[in-house]
């Protein structure tokens, strides 16, 4: 449905997009995740045609080559971050706009606009003025306006950014429902990893104009391929070490202080013995209890002492000082917090071994 090969875009000296290739299937919910300045908005504008890329090998939307084609002739529409609703038109006129400029009669366009309003759960809003709408309603009208022309690809530029949290969670579910109902390819931009994990079929993690990692939400969440991806996806604990041996995807690592641990690597071929590596562990996957877990093939254990404890409501965070460095442990059982802690342990599957950036050849 969407295919991009070798897209590069420069604003003067700045390279906003650096040789990006990616594709999306029919009916896929693809999320482009990244910080501001990572090039995600530029990528979206290159797809919509609002930006002409400096270089592009291939750009296909709905099976049509759209290199050099103006945005008005591309089979995709955008839901803008600021909604960009036309202030001098009613809700129905806004939604019908894409149909009217295609020469569809006013009556037909209005009927389809009413249908689109029902799809986004705003029936009866046809004659409201844009200025009378709340943020969430504007959002829905913007979506209705973009889907009414039945585009092959719908581009959404941080559409939930301006909404408050409760509304944002509701809209996440509504958007995924809508996407399943329409079977349209969604390309969704966000800087929030939670949004990306909750909504996407696949996630493209971007960093300074390049794709850092591309995969399903669980791949990005459980098996990041770089320290950047691990940090971005919320791994609280990153510790430096040296690779001792590689066996399949299992890597033995010596942490500073000499403690040996075993972890898994997403790309074991990229790690060889003696390499500097970083291990990443989520705080909630660390256990402070001494209960031995015999069912685990590889259980890593480090001796440590509690130096701080913070109550967070649903959970508590403990800071543990170990020979390899400070670790954050998250525990959901606030009732049975031990006074003293002698060690922390974690499973090898929860310990991700990453090549340290300095090793990487540029």
């Amino acid at each position: 449905m969407l295919e991009i090969e070798g897209a590069t875009h420069r604003y003067g000296e700045l390279t906003a997009l650096d040789n990006v290739s990616l594709s999306a299937r029919q009916g896929e919910f693809l999320t482009i995740l990244g910080e501001s300045g990572s090039g995600k908005t530029t990528l979206l504008r290159v797809i919509s045609g609002l930006e002409q890329p400096t270089e592009v090998g291939k750009l296909m939307i709905g099976g049509e080559n759209v290199v050099g084609v103006p945005p008005s002739r591309r089979n995709c529409t955008t839901v803008f971050q600021s909604y960009a609703l036309f202030p001098h038109m009613s809700v129905a006129e806004n939604i019908a706009y894409g149909l009217v400029v295609r020469g569809i009669s006013r009556d037909d366009a209005r009927k389809q606009a009413s249908k689109a309003l029902e799809t986004v759960r705003l029936p009866g809003f046809e004659d409201r003025r844009v200025s009378q709408l709340s943020g969430g309603q504007k959002q829905r009208v913007a979506i209705a306006r973009a889907i009414v022309t039945r585009p092959a690809v719908l581009l959404l530029d941080e559409p939930l950014g301006a909404l408050d949290e409760r509304l944002r969670l509701n809209m996440q579910n509504e958007l995924t429902d809508l996407q399943r109902q329409l079977k349209t390819t969604f390309v969704y931009i966000t800087h929030s990893q939670e949004e990306a994990l909750a909504m996407s079929d696949r996630i493209v993690l971007m960093r300074s104009g390049r794709i850092e990692q591309l995969g399903t939400p669980s791949e990005l969440f459980d098996l990041p391929t770089s320290t950047f991806a691990a940090e971005f996806m919320g791994f609280e604990n990153l510790l430096p070490g040296v690779a001792r041996s590689v066996d399949g995807n299992l890597v033995s690592v010596a942490l500073s202080g000499g403690s040996p641990v075993v972890g898994i690597a997403a790309n074991p071929a990229g790690i060889s013995q003696g390499d500097l590596v970083t291990i990443a562990i989520r705080a909630e996957r660390l256990s402070h209890s001494d209960v031995s877990r015999k069912q685990c093939r590889h259980l890593n254990t480090l001796a440590g002492t509690k130096i701080d404890q913070r109550y967070r409501g649903k959970y508590s965070d403990l800071d543990i000082e170990t020979a390899a460095g400070k670790l954050k442990v998250r525990t959901w059982d606030n009732a049975s917090l031990p006074e003293e802690i002698s060690s922390v342990s974690w499973r090898a599957e929860d310990c991700i071994v990453l090549p340290t950036a300095a090793n990487r050849k540029t």
Binding site: S48, P71, S72, R73, T78, S82, H88, Y97, G98, R145
Partner: protein, 303 residues
Amino acid sequence: MAAVSRSALSKSLSRLRPASNTLVNLYFVLWFCLVIIPLLVLFSFSFFETKSFVTTYTPTLNTWLSLLDSGRLTVSLRTLRIALTVTLIEFLIAFPFALWLAKGGVAKSTQAIILALLTIPFFLDLSSRIIIWRSILSENGLISHLLVESGLTSGPVDWLLYNEWAVHFGMLVTYFPTMVLPIYMAISIIDDALIQASADLGASRKDTLLRIIVPLSLPGILAGVILTLGPALAAWIEPSMLGGGFVNLLSNSVESAYSALRYPVVAALSSFVMLMLAILVVALAILARRFGSLGAVFSTLRS
């Protein structure tokens, strides 16, 4: 916390409200005294007449009726024609210029320079700006001289000055900034995202222009037209200096009636000019409805 600050806010707002009402009332009183009352006095003067250089204060329609004869009707129609032509040409030049300046990718610094240059005419007296054109356009002027020197014409050209063409030209130069500036302001506050959204939804450039840009810049267009049409209807310097007495407009009639101390005629002529302007503006507002509701556009300016 929030509740406290909100009540504090509404309290300070309610303290402000009577004050702002006073200001509004003050405005109405001042504007009424300084502008509306003199106009009403002027208007009432048009219902008197002059007999042997003395104004007689008995109400009569004679002065208004006299506008119809003695060639004043021809002058009125000529004034209207020239003012409308100038306004129309001005709009056709100024709108694309303003659009280019505001949305044509012109660098901000260049925009500032162009805007500053547009205000230069306001520093100079109009008559000194116009009189320069006499030495450029006249039979012995610069252009004629250059044409003769280059051999493009056999003799001096005399049709560049002292005719309607020259008057149109002078007025076009004079009123360009007053047409461009309001339109530029209106276009430049249109969010770029709206223009992009229009293209993204499949609109051609023409559709985007007619359905988005023109409707949203209507307040500016209307302001530009009023600021140009009004002075053009009352133009005095261009017709006298560049028309050389061959192009008589209403202002010249006002001038001659004034020097003849016929104040009721002055009053009637001035009222007539204002009446024409009012009719034209109403007609324009009705025309503008075709592009979208003006009220809706003005309400978008508030948000």
